[in-house]
């Protein structure tokens, strides 16, 4: 199953130099690999292992996750608005499947 249900909450426009907070969330169980099902069989680990964000093509934030991050990983971080440019948010699981969200930030003087 490919990754889906990724959401990004951020302002669409900001003044140059303003700090804006970006909140992201992806629906995912972050299965630890420590649990067993009702038949006593171990449930295999299934986690989002990597999240990254680029702004105008340059990396601004990256995170390596483990099963120590809660299910439905919520990640909030901040950037400074410098240019009108596209932000690309990417989540990747251990199988290499990805979810991508693109947003454009409009920066005014």
């Amino acid at each position: 199953m490919a990754l889906s249900n990724a959401r990004v909450s951020m302002r669409d426009a900001a003044k140059k130099g303003e700090i804006i907070e970006i909140k992201t969330l992806i629906r995912h169980p972050m299965e630890t690999g420590y649990r067993v099902d009702h038949m006593g069989k171990p449930i295999p680990r299934d986690i989002v292992k990597r999240f990254s964000a680029t702004y105008a093509g340059e990396p601004v934030f990256e995170m390596d996750l483990t099963q120590g991050v809660a299910a439905n990983p919520f990640i909030a971080f901040s950037i400074v608005a410098t240019d009108t440019a596209e932000m690309v948010f990417t989540w990747e699981n251990e199988a290499g499947e990805t979810a991508v969200v693109r947003r454009t930030l409009t920066v005014t003087e």
Binding site: I19, M30, T32, Y34, R35, V36, P42, Y55, E58, P59, V60, F61, E62, M63, D64, L65, T66, Q67, G68, V69, A70, A71, P73, F74, I75, A76, F77, S78, I79, V80
Partner: protein, 151 residues
């Protein structure tokens, strides 16, 4: 910020006792935490300060503990935060996550939700561009532990 009441204290004590029984397997220890920290720093000295770890003193539910980490840094090419690591003392794995920043980030701050296996001390370690390491540590009482024993 939640205040400590007699009720939460009793709940906390009960939950810690229960978790102590539950986490027989593969639980990280203080030694594992120190080893994870040493692996990240490569033996470099760690100073306290510059990092602010904000985490509840009493977490109702270990499955999701809201945590914020911020680092004082000008975030310039010459002086910026390279990475923030969160290290657990009692979880099955010591390093919970690593977040990486660039000067382009301009602000070294993030929030996320942690899973905590039991009451423990959580360490935030910031790695600076000059190779120095800064640390903040907070004790967290976990009332309901993240279930890790297969229950």
């Amino acid at each position: 910020m939640k205040t400590l009441t007699r009720r939460t204290l009793i709940l906390g004590a009960g939950a810690s006792a229960a978790t102590a029984l539950l986490i027989g397997r593969a639980a990280a220890t203080t030694q594992a935490r120190d080893a994870a920290v040493a692996e990240l720093t490569g033996g470099a000295a760690i100073k306290d300060g510059r990092v602010r770890l904000t985490i509840p003193a009493v977490a109702e539910n270990g499955l999701s503990v809201y945590t914020t980490i911020a680092v004082d840094s000008p975030m310039t090419e010459a002086d910026h935060v390279r990475a923030i690591h969160i290290i657990s003392e009692k979880n099955p794995i010591a390093r919970l996550f690593t977040a990486r920043f660039s000067p382009r980030s301009r602000v070294a701050k993030l929030s996320t939700n942690l899973r905590l296996a039991s009451s423990q001390q959580v360490t935030a370690l910031a790695e600076m561009s000059d190779g120095s390491f800064w640390r903040d540590r907070k004790d967290v009482i976990v009332t309901i532990a993240a279930c890790i024993d297969g229950g």
